[in-house]
Symmetry: C2
Subunit: 408 residues, 2 copies
């Protein structure tokens, strides 16, 4: 099926080259298509790495091995296969990953554990080793490519390439962070898994990079949802080459650490929101703002209950200010809530306060807000200081069409 | 909007009258419609009652008060309002319920706490007290009606009336259990809340009736899902008049207690499945069978994760044997699972065993099975003896149309 570009798409940003990072692409033809589907990114010696991975217990070999590799903290290359997720493929799937790692390691004269592999696409079919071997051989000889080409090559059902960029000054040196990501049916196991990669020329100790990435993921990648389903392959990796020449960051006390952390968080937030903007069938980008919860974590759970509710998402698709469905979603979250302290609003207008519809509720500004592309839902629990922001998209006929009408 | 009768509907069963139970219906016109929307059921003196209620913390006054009333264990009447859920309406909603209880109690010369009230329909609008008062006055004078008429009158977006019947022999006496239920967008807060009522002429101690109802709900009402959303008003009440003349059941040791418990469970299962058969937009009835889990409760959670997965439900709507999506749903459930011991099947044919696609997997029988109306998904965890069965329906364009295309 041909997918139209999402109406919520953003243009690909101007991302400069990152010292010590060289992306290349090639055609491995993992599926019967004529497009680039193999991405290779080479890193300078001394590059550090951190990663966050799916919590799905039925994860792929790529995820299992990646979890082990990031503990070592060093990276020389990244290989991303698009069109085959290589998940639920047993020992044959693992052999394919080990083959790719060995082939690249031989070329770079590094350890296989320095080579990170991701795969995304259909599951239950072992990655074909012959295609992988030929594809890797080709890509190792290919010319360097643009970030936009790399972003397009890691995509599957994505309708637009997704990238983000941020800069920071660290110890007097300007550093750049570039990110690319793929994912749309968040977090479908076939053809729509979230894979994100962040590259920086900053020098960052691997353990500190891991600490920053984990913290940033908490209110970015872990605060988006398209359909509540959790992929078997979700991976976000951050690579730091150190070529900017700053004194390596190892703790928050180091000069520039705060600025770098803020820039990393910014890239993570941009990338996370881009995945929602390409949500399958999405017509509206929805920001759910929770305040007054007992804790931030409670607010996040309530926000995800609202953002995952099919009834809330279809109401917004229908431009219906159905705040009762938001009440329902808050109530089912399993978190502390008091019906008689609960307030619900849309786009800055309260529809209900303290457990009752507002006597002078004027639906006109809410109706106008809901006709737009960018929707805000506000929930105040009236209990404490906990707050969270969660992003999702509406649930439309397009989602059903993509996932039911066409055989995968 | 006019809703077509669900293709999964079953005919209304022949339910006899139950000694000590008299249903009546009337037009309160809670909405701008010309249909009966107020159901009144009168019980003989000495009737016992038990109930199970939504866990949604934003529940309605009816639920709050009903929870208190069942502790007293006695019932003389039930009033069900359709068209207005009276939820999230603060003190004004509560006053409307208290008015109905007082009006019926005066008529029957009983305590207000003997009168149970439920409401279903749009939320956030206080039940109009004038319409309720006139409607109750009318229904108290109305002729008795059939069970099918009562089942139709408690319905809102339901596309067919839902009833169930079972019999048992208790201490040498034949007893009958009749049930009616409404609900389709399981468990939407507006126009689609699950309300179920079970009536029997058996004599059953209230505490024992509660014990049996709670146990039966665990693997019936608590094992169905349409869209994962949980109503603010869900209620199931069981009333036992004692008119069959059996020695009252008070414990499992009593003669006939097992038979009564089995009949009650049977009625609960029938009613629960009928709600799924009227799931919004449903084209297929799906039974998810989980075995080999670490515990029954773990199996139930995994079953619900599969049954709530939009990707699994859309795949079945598309008649696509996409077992990878089932793997994903199992993995995200947060329950013990081992990818390499997991087996997935459809309609009795395994597609994957022990973490890998079957080498000789023949998709033909699976494809034929998925073309039918009644679908079975089998999951074996390979870990222990825990098992569960969960029922749901597919996710189709009809669900989106009902919930997004029409303003409520």
């Amino acid at each position: 099926m041909d997918l139209e570009r999402s109406p919520l798409a953003l243009p690909f940003p101007a991302i400069p080259s990152i010292a010590g990072v060289t992306p290349r692409i090639a055609r491995a033809r993992y599926k019967d298509w004529d497009r680039c589907d193999l991405t290779y990114v080479e890193f300078a010696e001394g590059t550090t790495v951190a990663g966050v991975f799916t919590r799905n217990v039925c994860c792929s070999s790529e995820v299992e091995m990646g979890r082990e590799q990031v503990r070592l903290g060093r990276a020389r290359a990244l290989v991303v296969n698009a069109g085959n997720a290589n998940a639920f493929t047993g020992y044959r799937g693992r052999e394919a990953v080990e083959q790719i790692m060995a082939q690249v390691a031989q070329h770079l004269d590094c350890k296989p554990s320095d080579v990170f592999v991701s795969s995304t696409g259909v599951i239950g079919v072992p990655l074909p080793k012959d295609k992988a071997r030929a594809g890797v051989a080709t890509v190792l000889e290919a010319d360097p490519c643009s970030w936009e080409d790399a972003a397009a090559t890691i995509g599957t059902t994505d309708t637009f390439p997704k990238g983000a960029v941020a800069t920071a000054v660290v110890g007097g040196r300007a550093v750049t962070l570039a990110g690319i990501i793929k994912g749309s049916g968040m977090i479908a196991p076939d053809m729509a898994t979230m894979l994100g990669y962040i590259f920086t020329d900053a020098a960052v100790d691997a353990a500190f990079l891991q600490q920053l990435l984990t913290a940033s993921a908490g209110d970015t990648f872990n605060c988006i949802t398209v359909d509540s389903d959790t992929s078997t392959s979700d991976t976000v990796l951050a690579f730091a080459t150190g070529k900017a020449g700053n004194a390596p960051l190892a703790a928050f006390d180091d000069p520039g650490a705060d600025a770098f952390a803020a820039a990393l968080h910014d890239v993570c937030r941009q990338l996370a929101q881009l995945v929602v903007r390409d949500g399958e069938g999405a017509q509206k980008f929805i920001e759910v703002r929770i305040s007054g919860a007992e804790s931030d974590e409670s607010a996040r759970r309530i926000g995800l209950a609202v953002a995952n509710s099919p009834l809330v998402k279809t109401a917004i698709a229908g431009e219906d200010a159905n705040w009762g469905r938001v009440v329902m979603a808050v109530g089912k979250a399993g978190e502390p809530a008091d019906r008689d302290k609960l307030s619900i609003g849309f786009g800055g207008t309260w529809a209900a306060r303290d457990g009752q519809p507002l006597a002078d509720y004027d639906e006109a500004p809410v109706a106008a807000h809901l006709k737009g592309r960018e929707i805000q839902v506000e929930v105040d629990l009236g209990l404490g200081d906990g707050h969270a922001v969660v992003w999702t998209c509406d649930l439309t006929h397009g989602y059903i069409a993509i996932n039911a009408d066409y055989r995968s």
